[in-house]
Symmetry: C2
Subunit: 359 residues, 2 copies
């Protein structure tokens, strides 16, 4: 199935999250989605826009923190001025995606799909094909999630459990439940059943359906979002009253329990690039030393892993397996793929030491 | 034995060698001896001067490359103008030390001792006591070397084999031979005999004795050195005619064969700091992560080895044993203590690539 532009379909791109485990590349002032993490010459945000553009043309709505609004607009040139919505403060994914839903309902959008700004999907065509199937199901009133085929028993992702096929939509399956990040042994059991897929946080739905599902759980939340959409001047006043809650808990889990969620299988590689280990796995294989950046700056002898030369300096790495070396103008990280998660301890220590310039 | 100032004794300090295996700290334009490698706040050259000063006061002669003359004078403030001799080009240790011997013979010095500018000797008092004994033996006409007690079977150092005690000098022993750097198994055999000591390249001798020993092997070499000392204006003309040969081969080995060398045992720690492995061993123990520089710049979690933060940037190291991280403003090295020797391959590669700014 080749997916061309889908009339009435809007893409929502929540651009949030600091990406602490990708320090020192990613900082609170310059989060992950603004960076070219895959060596394509384009940031993850730009790649997300480019991946969606054939489906939506200019029908794109990015929701980001006020601190990043200028950077987002700077990267997404050519978009209409109202394509970027700035959150006064971070209030988790339900507020961000819910506000987008209210704005799009107000604009008369038929279907929306929400896709994070900082995920990596190498096969854009397969992605778009799945989205087109999801839109078709969403038009029938379902909350649709795209379930990624798991390639290993990850403990870093949540899962969605598939139930019966959905009549009229050949690949769609009912969703029995969403489950939180499991341990590796539990994830292994999930994979053995063949019924579980990774929850990549991609939701496709009619804006009105999403807001009505929210209203069933928290009528005030949904009402405030709709008020903001109708009277944008009230955003500063009402925003701080919105609960901090993830869309999974606020809407997806109760809707699944009520039998109102379906999933479309995503037959494409996907990664949320949580840390340098996953980035190294995404960009190279076990034997390689991946250079993310100007390879003429790297002098590698008998080493594997990932080297990120981003300061313009020569980086020499000798005799280390699965190493992670990230060189930026004001901070350097040296660790291993296995210990890459612990970089958040460094960020915490730097915050404790008042080095907010570095975090 | 406490060593006070020794009248008539001059110290010669050959300050040469690039220290390629200490890249990127050490460069051809800024060699090892100009750097503070031990975190004392003083360069190895300054430490060498300070270690010798109680014995010689201002009777010091530094022989260095013309390219480093200004840097040497900048570090050794307060010395007379004729305390630094600049070699027009590098011609190995016999030319450097021989020129110093000829100059000192011309000045009427009684005894000279040659001590490299880039060695580390933590116990300066024990060093000076050994030098005083060496001077006493040298006054009797011997070529005297200080033999360091080996602490492990090193394959990185040459050895001196001791023979019979020397009458009249309680600790001195005849030298049977000098031997080149052995393999580790051969070094183990040496240590088992109890007769071998490390050759640290410290020679104490009357200048005239040294030049006459050289003249026995190469009369022209010795004559040219004496001509330069008498007519300094002829240095540029005669220097390039001097053979490139180490003092060990030119004088020490044949003199030992002729029974004219004695050794004084040095009961002090010594290291020539050949690479970052030896530097790490010198500054810390196996469990430690040594920070050479501003420790507030280092964020170390579960790592051992040596971290050198010299660019002002924060350096975070997580989960690596025996690691070597050297951070300078224009180049970064990441390796292990076991692979530290291979840094010379990086320097060679950079030279091949025309990056002379970095080597």
């Amino acid at each position: 199935m080749v997916a061309d532009e889908i009339p009435g379909f809007w893409a929502v791109v929540p651009a949030g999250g600091a990406g602490t485990r990708l320090w020192p590349l990613s900082r609170s002032g310059s989060p992950k989605f603004l960076h070219d993490l895959t060596g394509t010459g384009h940031s993850l945000l730009e790649q997300t826009r480019d991946r969606l553009a054939p489906l939506v043309a200019e029908r794109l709505l990015v929701v980001t923190g006020a601190a990043h609004e200028d950077a987002v607009r700077g990267q997404l040139t050519g978009l209409p001025g109202d394509a970027v919505v700035a959150e006064p403060s971070a209030r988790d994914s339900m507020a961000a995606i819910g506000l987008a839903a209210a704005i799009l309902e107000h604009r008369g959008a038929e279907v929306m799909g929400s896709f994070a700004a900082d995920h990596v999907i190498p096969d854009a065509a397969a992605f778009r094909a799945a989205v087109a199937e999801a839109v078709a199901a969403a038009r029938d009133g379902w909350l649709v999630t795209i379930g990624i085929e798991p390639t290993f028993p990850s403990s870093a992702f949540g899962y969605v459990r598939q139930g019966d096929p959905l009549a009229g939509h050949p690949t769609a399956r009912q969703v029995v439940e969403f489950v939180e990040k499991p341990s590796v042994p539990v994830a292994e059991e999930y994979l053995a059943t063949g019924s579980y897929r990774w929850n990549a946080g991609m939701f496709v739905v009619r804006p009105t359906v999403l807001l009505d599902l929210l209203a069933e759980q928290d009528p005030t939340f949904a009402a405030n979002l709709r008020t903001i959409a109708a009277e944008p001047g009230r955003l500063p006043e009402l925003w701080d009253r919105l609960p901090r809650i993830a869309i999974d808990h606020a809407v997806a889990e109760p809707a699944a329990a009520a039998g109102r969620v379906v999933t479309i299988p995503g037959a494409f590689g996907w990664d949320d690039v949580g840390d340098f280990d996953s980035l190294a796995g995404l960009l190279g294989d076990e034997e390689d030393c991946t250079i993310l950046g100007d390879s003429s700056l790297a002098q590698v002898i008998g080493a594997s892993g990932i080297v990120v030369p981003r300061s313009g300096r020569v980086v020499a790495v000798i005799g280390l397996d699965d190493v992670v070396v990230v060189d930026t103008p004001d901070a350097l990280l040296v660790t291993t793929r296995a210990r890459a998660q612990e970089v958040k301890k460094v960020v915490a220590a730097l915050k404790d030491q008042g080095r907010h310039d570095l975090t």
